[in-house]
Symmetry: C2
Subunit: 251 residues, 2 copies
């Protein structure tokens, strides 16, 4: 059981911390909470007094549209802070859902605000984190607005695989992703039926497997090509482990 501060892992994945910075993080009071799968963590209209880091689990950000249908706007993986925005934007403008059982580390806005005043470098890193979020949103708009079904789904798989990989949670082109086809439909703006057909096509092309909450990329280059995927928008930290490509071609 590791008792280190949940925020440490997040910062240390990208930064080399000074002693003072590390101390400031360790001193930041956090409160761990667990949310069951398919429960709302935050709702549109909420005015949270604290933000949280996703320690473990899979969450999503979504909005409900006219016909009652839901649009998923982002998936959140461990070390994400899906609600950092509420620190300086009182009113929540979308919902956040736990897709699996999630462990959350809450920090009060009061403490976080002071932390940002005192730890300028780390504050800028957090700001940057919210900017990357916005960049991902932009790419999703392109995805939904411009790409047809097959490319759209392929693009989503590319993003998820790379992000999981960056967290060290993908091995040999395989990672756990507890998503149903219905979830993928809501994320791509496609119907469930069409989502199913698109996934079948991706399988037929031998680009991926996706079943029982597990994604495997068989042909990374092929997937990237059908997705028109360029990873820049994710602003991922440079890969330090020399593990070559995310998945070998025709693995």
């Amino acid at each position: 059981m590791n008792t280190s501060h949940p925020l440490l892992a997040k910062f240390e994945r990208s930064l080399t911390l000074t002693g003072a910075e590390r101390d400031a993080i360790n001193v930041l009071p956090v409160r761990l909470e667990v949310v069951k799968a398919d429960q709302a963590i935050l709702r549109e209209g909420d005015r949270p007094k604290r933000s949280f880091l996703l320690v473990e689990g899979l969450a999503c950000n979504s909005k409900v549209g006219p016909n009652g249908k839901r649009q998923i706007l982002a998936f959140h993986l461990p070390e994400d802070m899906p609600d950092l925005a509420s620190l300086y934007l009182d009113l929540r403008d979308s919902d956040t859902w736990a897709m699996t059982n999630c462990t959350l580390a809450f920090v009060s806005h009061r403490d976080l605000d002071r932390f940002c005043d005192e730890q300028r470098r780390l504050s800028k890193f957090l700001w940057r984190d919210t900017l990357i979020n916005a960049s991902v949103h932009r790419e999703w708009t392109v995805n939904v607005g411009l790409r047809e079904g097959l490319a759209r789904m392929a693009h989503l798989f590319c993003e998820l695989m790379l992000r999981m990989r960056a967290l060290g949670r993908a091995k040999d082109g395989t990672c756990d992703l507890a998503l149903t086809q219905a979830d993928l439909a809501e994320a791509t703006g496609l119907s469930q039926v069409h989502t199913n057909r698109v996934i079948q096509e991706l399988r037929r092309l031998e680009l991926i497997s996706f079943a029982r909450g597990q994604l495997t990329v068989h042909d990374w280059d092929g997937l990237v090509e059908t997705a028109d995927f360029r990873a820049d928008y994710l602003h991922l930290p440079p890969v330090d482990r020399p593990e070559s490509a995310p998945g070998a071609r025709r693995a």
Copy 2:
């Protein structure tokens, strides 16, 4: 000719500044530049060393998709800072275009970074500004992913009218918007032909007029309803002028 600092107007629209804050802003070196209509201001892949405030004109943020088609991701009106993100996110992930002749006020990242360190309240306001940008991106994803053509276009008109209004640039439900139907098509992810038909339908329903770079809303409530529009996501400052609704019903 007003010679006051371009950033002052932006801050003062939402905040009551202290003398020290006002001084800090006035001391911030800016450089005014003009960009002609249909010129790129920034490109994907750029690494700007300065950010800018849009002083006058209309700009947009966009990305080019697989088929060479362009998706517009946001429209930028005066007092916006379309590229504030580059302050803490080196690599530009989208293009910024001037849609009309634009006047830009550039501030170097070095100066802006120091400004943010020293002026904590104003720094948070700028951070908040980027968070609102992200919120708008989210709503656009919903727009493109969930709403059908008519509602999608109506939604865009609602947003633009409210934002122009918040700037005091709309009178009697009318505002100048130098956009072509092709621009609107790129912003909504619809084809030009379909965009044209959708706009005709909005006219037929007597909700709006849109011609020669001028938008008029004839029936705000009706437009809001067909758009499924809720303004929360814009996080607009509370309306101080008691000018009732943006446009009277069946004006």
